[in-house]
């Protein structure tokens, strides 16, 4: 176990079936002026798990993180983090959490090492421990070779790593990661994922917000879908996937006449007239595909392209938030031609 993470949190007394909650939220509300950002959300996040809050821009993800990390006061409802009420015991919350926001929160004028030492000083770690902790985190996040360079000169990925390292100086029990991989290249994204996994392996609770469904699917034990200030669905990735229609095959045509003929052949298929595409229900298995292509051949219709679609979180998301779930094309489906 890396020495930089917390040991497993103590389990609740009596060995109850439910582990202690790291975050509990009931009826949380927040508006800015006329605009309701959070319209009564409830969350229960067991300690030592990864929770993902998934939603489009403007859904209220960042506001939720701000309230839970004591940056912003809620208008209504209750929230407690690591056993401390955010409203009545904010210092208790602050002592238990680490926050890495969407934009790297570091001191650009200081070097990477000085940034970490600043955290150690503010956490009152003492000189020796502060130095050893700084060294350890510089190594772990692979920024030791640039430790003496100013943070302003760092690339996006390095800034994010330094930011997370600063968050971890105090060995927080609960970590909030607000869109931790937005704007990162794929390699940095994978590194971030590895880091999150190692944190959880060490018993830390991670509260993650993301717009990337793959990210939630990869990392989270439980996912809540936030849209328009409300939780529209919550569960494991599997549970959410089970809530949406099954697999389908999408057929694309260039020629409107061919499209119409195919629509007659597959009378039950959903039409997408604008794109001349048909959505035919089916599990995408080899035999089903063979049968489908045979029917096209028999009818003498030539399709320009086809794609097999198995349900993923994208579908869940689109189905639940109702934004273009049926009409919008997925980028992955546009790769024929």
């Amino acid at each position: 176990m890396p020495s930089s993470v917390m040991p497993m949190p103590r389990q609740g007394g009596g060995g109850g079936p439910r582990p202690p909650a790291a975050v509990t939220v009931t009826g949380l509300r927040k508006s800015y002026g006329d605009k309701t950002v959070l319209d009564g959300i409830d969350l229960h996040i067991p300690a030592g798990t990864v929770f993902a809050l998934l939603g489009p821009n403007g859904a209220g993800k960042t506001t939720t993180v701000h309230i839970l990390s004591t940056l912003v006061a809620a208008d209504g409802g209750r929230a407690s983090v690591a056993g401390h009420d955010v409203d009545t015991a904010p210092d208790g919350v602050r002592a238990a959490i680490g926050v890495t926001g969407q934009f790297a929160a570091l001191d650009n004028l200081l070097t990477a090492e000085e940034n970490l030492l600043l955290m150690a000083d503010l956490l009152r770690l003492g000189k020796r421990e502060g130095r050893s902790r700084t060294r350890e985190l510089l190594e772990r996040f692979e920024i030791a070779d640039v430790a003496g360079q100013r943070a302003a000169t760092f690339s996006g990925g390095m800034r994010r790593r330094l930011d997370l390292a600063m968050t971890l100086v105090g060995r927080p029990e609960v970590i909030f990661l607000d869109e931790p991989t937005t704007g990162l290249d794929p390699r940095s994204r994978r590194t971030m994922w590895e880091t999150v996994r190692s944190l959880v392996a060490g018993g830390t609770t991670v509260f993650l917000t993301t717009q990337y469904l793959e990210e939630a699917d990869q990392l989270a034990d439980r996912i809540a879908v936030l849209d328009g200030g409300r939780i529209v669905a919550e569960g494991t990735a599997e549970e959410l996937k089970a809530r949406i229609p099954g697999a389908h095959v999408r057929l694309r045509f260039d020629d409107p006449a061919a499209y119409e003929r195919a629509a007659e052949v597959f009378a039950g298929a959903a039409r997408d007239d604008e794109n001349l595409a048909l959505r035919v229900a089916g599990d995408g298995g080899l035999d089903a595909l063979r049968a489908l292509l045979a029917r096209l051949d028999t009818a003498g219709v030539r399709a320009t392209g086809f794609s097999v679609h198995t349900p993923d979180l994208d579908d869940v998301f689109l189905a639940l938030t109702g934004r273009g779930a049926d009409t919008a094309l997925h980028p992955a489906e546009e790769n024929q031609r």
């Binding site: 940056l71 959490i97 926001g101 929160a105 600063m166």
Partner: protein, 266 residues
């Protein structure tokens, strides 16, 4: 550690951070000293002959360039304190617009330490800049009859002015949404010494302006410093100066503090 102990510890950490910035970017931290030094050179060499004759006659000092240098030096030193306002408000505002303040706010640290670090850091930087100004004045031939006690009192007065100006500038930095506007707002403070007894005695001004010049805070401050360094009469100026410092400092402190506590994320 007690609550006070935490506050002191965290404020010292923030002060070290501020001074590290200052040492790394001397052009920013010593920049405010540039204006008074340029004024000193310009007014002593270009205008000193003429002004010295006029001012000398008006204030009872010896005329000429040397006399004017003696009159002007305390004024530009006070001007140097006012010039420090801009770097304070810029430093506070740029911290606020970057994410680092939100990190501080999610940590279990003394809330006031962030502003205290900035303000004390500004006072230290301003006083360091003033050493440069005094150095240039001495090089130009300024000679003070002040003893150690007067110099000490002068340093105390300047520190008090710097402290008051820094709290007010911190508040100006907090109400500014961009660094550009944070650099504009303190211009008023920086300009105020021009409408006082910095360059010419207020008695030479037209009546309306004269009233303003006599009653604005920098005039008694300048007169007090002038008295300490050159032996001119101080009168009631010293306690009026200290009252202004206390008033500006308290208003700036309360304003900045409440802004910092209520400002949510930008």
């Amino acid at each position: 550690m007690s609550t006070l102990g935490y506050t002191v510890h965290d404020s010292m950490t923030m002060l070290r951070r501020n001074l590290r910035h200052a040492v790394r970017y001397p052009s920013v931290s010593l920049g405010p000293a540039l204006l008074p030094i340029l004024m000193l050179l310009l007014f002593v060499y270009a205008f000193g002959g003429a002004l010295g004759a006029g001012v000398g006659a008006g204030s009872g000092q010896d005329g000429g360039r040397a006399g004017y240098l003696e009159y002007l030096t305390p004024g530009v030193i006070v001007m140097g304190v006012a010039a420090g306002a801009m770097s304070t408000s810029i430093a506070v505002c740029s911290d606020m617009t970057e994410g680092v303040v939100n990190r501080f706010r999610t940590m279990n640290i003394s809330r006031s330490s962030f502003l205290t670090g900035h303000v004390v850091g500004s006072v230290v930087q301003t006083l360091a800049g003033l050493l440069l100004v005094v150095g240039v004045a001495l090089a130009l031939g300024f000679r003070s009859g002040a003893g150690p006690l007067e110099w000490l009192a002068a340093a105390g007065l300047l520190a008090a002015i710097a402290f008051a100006v820094a709290w007010l500038s911190a508040a100006l930095g907090l109400i500014s949404r961009t660094v550009e506007s944070a650099s504009n707002k303190p211009l008023l403070i920086q300009f105020l010494p021009f409408l006082g007894s910095t360059f010419v005695p207020t008695s030479t001004m037209p009546s309306g302006l004269r009233w303003f010049a006599r009653h604005q805070p920098f005039t008694p401050m300048t007169e007090t410093l002038r008295g300490l360094l050159t032996g001119s009469p101080v009168g009631s100026a010293w306690w009026i100066s200290l009252a202004w410092c206390a008033g500006i400092g308290v208003v700036g402190y309360v304003w900045a503090r409440s802004l910092f506590h209520t400002t949510t994320k930008r």
